[in-house]
């Protein structure tokens, strides 16, 4: 088991390395000079001499392979470089903003799972009934509405019309816990809605599939009460694929919360990436992409380990 995790972590590191390399090369091979971008304000062309000096300072004049090696050496020693824009260490910015993004995702996952699993199970038990039709339609609709639409509409309803909640912004938890949670509610709820749709649909499909399994018939043949059949045999087995999907969806959300952060003015990691890409701030972009990939790959590993713990048929490294 431990050997397996060690092996998978190595594979994960390898994948992250490939991703970072690709991003690094892409950024450096495409047109667009960060020094020029930084120095040119509005429609005024930058002074060529100043740009040259800036390039030298940023280390952009060295051969590409040397820039790459320097960068990788930095990464290995835990140094992600400094931002082109403000000279601050990239790692500090990431340490500041990553928790904010994770907070939204975890809150959303908790809401979605807590509601989605019972809802999906109930729909499956009442297949083709009215409750199933309503739940399935709701799930389809929620799944089909992009987050920024949901976000805009909830702002319109809860902030503009009803004035129950603030339209967006951020206050640190340490400063004002109540206000922090209040501000968290809309973004987390918006992310939760689409996640809820996925979890509900998956739970429904999974329960329906398990209900057709022979071992459920065996459980009934034992004369077990309906509740026991459902709890021990149906829901328990049905949960395994649901948790897998939840894990993968959360992975997608890291870095996928750009739109929500934009809509609600939530200063998380994804929004930071967009502005970094815009400014061609190489160290920032590479640093953020690397953080996101590490988390993404790590989460996939966690999903596999959890799966193996729940399903004895999957054996890891044994």
């Amino acid at each position: 088991m431990l050997r397996y995790i060690a092996f998978r972590s190595l594979v994960a590191l390898f994948l992250v390395w490939i991703v970072v390399t690709i991003v690094f090369l892409l950024l450096h091979l495409i047109p667009g000079d960060p020094a020029e971008l930084l120095l040119s304000g509005g429609n005024v062309a930058a002074d060529p001499q100043a740009v040259a000096a800036m390039r030298e300072k940023m280390g952009l004049n060295a051969p590409l392979w040397q820039q790459y090696l320097d960068h990788m050496a930095g990464v290995l020693s835990g140094d992600l470089g400094v931002s082109f824009r403000d000279g601050a260490p990239v790692i500090e910015q990431i340490a500041l903003r990553l928790p904010r993004t994770l907070e939204v995702i975890i809150a959303a996952a908790l809401i979605a799972t807590g509601i989605g699993v019972p809802l999906g199970t109930y729909a499956a038990i009442r297949t083709d009934g009215k409750a199933d039709a309503v739940i399935s339609l709701f799930a389809s609709a929620a799944l089909s509405t992009p987050v920024f639409v949901v976000g805009s509409v909830v702002i319109l309803i809860f902030a503009q019309q009803l004035r129950w909640l603030p339209a967006g912004g951020f206050v640190a938890f340490t400063e004002d816990p109540a206000e922090h949670l209040k501000l968290l509610l809309l973004p987390a709820g918006t992310v939760a809605l689409s996640l809820l749709a996925v979890i509900t649909r998956m739970s429904r499909a999974s329960v329906l599939e398990v209900l057709q399994r022979d071992y459920v018939r065996t459980a009934r043949a034992k004369g077990l009460p309906v509740r026991a059949v459902l709890r021990r045999h149906v829901v328990r087995n049905a949960l395994i694929p649901v948790l897998t999907v939840l894990g993968l969806e959360m992975g997608t959300l890291i870095g996928g919360t750009v739109l929500v952060e934009f809509v609600f003015n939530w200063p998380g990691l994804s929004g930071y990436l967009v502005s970094a890409v815009d400014a061609r701030d190489y160290p920032e972009v590479v640093g953020i992409v690397m953080t996101i990939s590490v988390l993404f790959v790590l989460l996939n590993l966690v999903v596999d380990v959890v799966n193996a713990a729940l399903d004895p048929r999957i054996s890891l490294g044994r």
Binding site: I125, T127, Q160, L208, Y215, G223, R232, L259, P312
Partner: protein, 616 residues
């Protein structure tokens, strides 16, 4: 038209309408999409502008349709391009495996290491905003999805015998790929396609919303929502229209995808769920009847089972005495398994009893009619009075529960046993069914046992409640000969150990019947054709079907086997007269006209043949 196909009509029509609208946008009598009208900015709906005007006074409806054109062009275009690339990679990787797989499937999977929106963002940031960069970004993004789907389907198809047959035929691999494999991976590809169109629209609109997608003044739904947000308080409707259009279109594509999936995948669950979970009607009172002194354990009379209007089992009559083993034998489709399942109330939801009775004598000496019991009354009998052993033990045991727990559960369902006493009973049961080292094996999961051991565990589950009637449904069919012999010996042992237990042994194998049963009931096309003591029936069958069945077993030493021509009739095309007549060597005009009644050639024996006296 099938129900699943019919359900495609609504989303299919809407998708077609949306496509027609955006394709015809240039010829429709729409307002100029860029025509500004600043004085009338934010005007509500009017006769000239059905959906109102936006912040520059432009016609919203016109922009909505043109915006849909841009969104759909990008989404469909990238879905198609990604489909072509992904299909090629997936086909090659799935068919040739090895190095080819590494350079196709594994290579594109690196893309999956990046969150999708992030990837799109990177590409657009690099290439700049606009329609074509978006299409490229989305194509790169979705190629791995197709590759994976096609790869999985290809692997599945390539292991099928008809592909091996093509290889054995000496067909060129490329020809096999295009002619044999590609058509067979198309259904999942189609489903994936509609899924990707929906998903691509989400990402396209998201990027446009961020200002990284379609470049203004080209209209796009994402852009319209972005612009409307600024004026949310002034004109909330401006936000509503594009949101509705976007969500509605994506919803339709998702619906289409769902329904396409269930129409293309025959295994998809279309109806039912599980009716046993829903108690229906008021609880029926149980009416036990006193049983006569020598009543059989089970007396089935004229039992019929039907699926909607198709009768699958017709007027089955048979009885099982305590201690007796009755073999129910027949080919596939004969109704033997259904008859067994009906006795435990475990018939599939689509089937129901349509007539007859099944009187069962309980431990306390009273009789009840199994055919009238509701789910709860049936549940109390199951495992306690009547138990069942299923054919496929690997599928019939819960894969995530330990063997010991599954046996224990069967005990606790009807007793209050717990703790030490319970585990001692579990160990004793496992030992009884011949599982070696039961103290340790009870902690094993089903997949850790061999096929024979699993079937033994299945039998332990069935006998855990000391049932008085054991129904075994083809319990040895999937096993190897030496293991089958072990399980048959176990059943023989069980009969000796529990002399009062009756058994219904469902099988298609006549030789197994000869080894295990006292009496045999032969079923054909949903009817009983012959019944009697095993030795008598096998030495002198009194129905032409039984006789032909025995003669077709390659054990006689005859140089040529007796083959029964034709095939078992299907339920919706049952012959009017004797159901065996079309395949019977002795059939006459009379047989084809009249269904024969059961006749009794000797005490204890039954045959359903008009001509038994002449031909047997």
């Amino acid at each position: 038209m099938k129900r699943s196909t019919r359900k495609l009509i609504i989303p299919g029509t809407i998708v077609a309408l949306v496509f027609a609208l955006v394709v015809l946008a240039p010829v429709l009598p729409l307002q100029d999409v860029r025509g500004m009208d600043i004085p009338n900015r934010f005007s509500g709906p009017s006769a000239a502008h059905w959906l109102g005007q936006d912040g520059f006074g432009r016609d919203v409806m016109s922009r909505l349709i043109w915006g849909g054109r841009a969104s759909l062009f990008i989404a469909v275009g990238s879905a198609l391009l990604a489909a072509i690339a992904g299909t090629m990679l997936g086909l090659l990787g799935g068919y040739f495996r090895g190095v080819v797989e590494l350079f196709t499937v594994r290579a594109v999977e690196i893309i999956l290491c990046l969150p999708p929106l992030l990837l799109a963002l990177l590409v657009v940031a690099i290439l700049g905003a606009g329609t074509w960069p978006l299409i490229l970004a989305l194509t790169i993004l979705y190629t791995p999805n197709y590759t994976r789907v096609v790869y999985a389907a290809t692997q599945q198809v390539r292991s099928l015998d008809f592909v091996t047959a093509q290889q054995a035929m000496g067909t060129h691999p490329m020809k096999i790929l295009l002619r044999t494999i590609l058509p067979n991976v198309l259904p999942p590809l189609l489903v994936q396609m509609s899924l990707v169109v929906a998903s691509a629209m989400v990402i396209e609109s998201g990027l446009s919303f961020l200002g990284l997608g379609v470049v203004p003044p080209t209209p796009s739904w994402g852009l319209m929502i972005r612009e409307a947000r600024g004026a949310m308080e002034l004109a909330p409707l401006l936000l509503v229209w594009p949101s509705l259009a976007l969500a509605g279109t994506i919803l339709t594509f998702n619906l289409l995808c769902d329904r396409l999936q269930s129409a293309l995948d025959p295994r998809a669950i279309t109806a039912g769920g599980a009716l046993w979970l829903r108690p229906r009607g008021p609880k029926k009172p149980l009416t036990p009847l006193p049983a006569p002194q020598d009543a059989p354990l089970l007396q089935i009379t004229d039992l019929s089972i039907a699926a909607r209007d198709l009768e699958l089992v017709r007027r089955v009559t048979l009885s099982v005495r305590p201690g007796e083993t009755m073999a129910l034998v027949g080919e596939s489709g004969s109704g033997k398994t259904l008859t067994g399942l009906a006795m435990t109330g475990l018939l599939p939801d689509t089937l129901r009893l349509t007539g007859g009775s099944a009187l069962y004598t309980r431990r306390d000496g009273t009789r009840i009619d199994l055919a009238t019991l509701d789910e709860e009354a049936m549940r109390q009998l199951r495992g306690d009075e009547i138990s069942m052993v299923f054919q496929d033990a690997a599928a019939s045991l819960n894969p995530v529960l330990r063997i010991g727990d599954q046996v224990a559960e069967a005990i606790t369902a009807h007793t209050t046993l717990s703790g030490e006493a319970l585990s001692a009973r579990v160990v004793a049961l496992l030992r009884q069914v011949g599982i070696p080292d039961p103290e340790r094996r009870l902690r094993a999961y089903p997949h850790e046992l061999s096929g024979g051991q699993r079937q033994r565990a299945m039998i332990a589950v069935a006998i855990a409640g000391n049932p008085r009637l054991l129904i075994a449904d083809e319990p040895t069919t999937a096993l190897d000969p030496t293991i089958q012999a072990q399980i048959l010996a176990l059943f023989a042992q069980l009969r000796r150990d529990t002399p009062g237990m009756g058994m219904i042994f469902v099988t298609h194998d006549l030789a197994v019947v000869a080894e295990i049963a006292d009496r045999v009931t032969v079923m054909y096309a949903g009817e009983i054709v012959e019944e009697g003591p095993v030795a008598e029936v096998f030495t002198r069958p009194r129905h032409p079907y039984t006789a032909a069945l025995i003669a077709s077993v390659p054990e006689s030493g005859a140089t040529r086997l007796t083959a029964i021509p034709g095939a078992v009739p299907l339920p919706h095309a049952m012959p009017t007269g004797c159901r065996f007549a079309p395949r019977c060597a002795h059939a006459t005009e009379r047989c084809r006209e009249r269904a024969p009644q059961a006749a009794s050639p000797a005490p204890n024996r039954i045959t359903r043949c008009l001509r038994w006296e002449e031909v047997t």
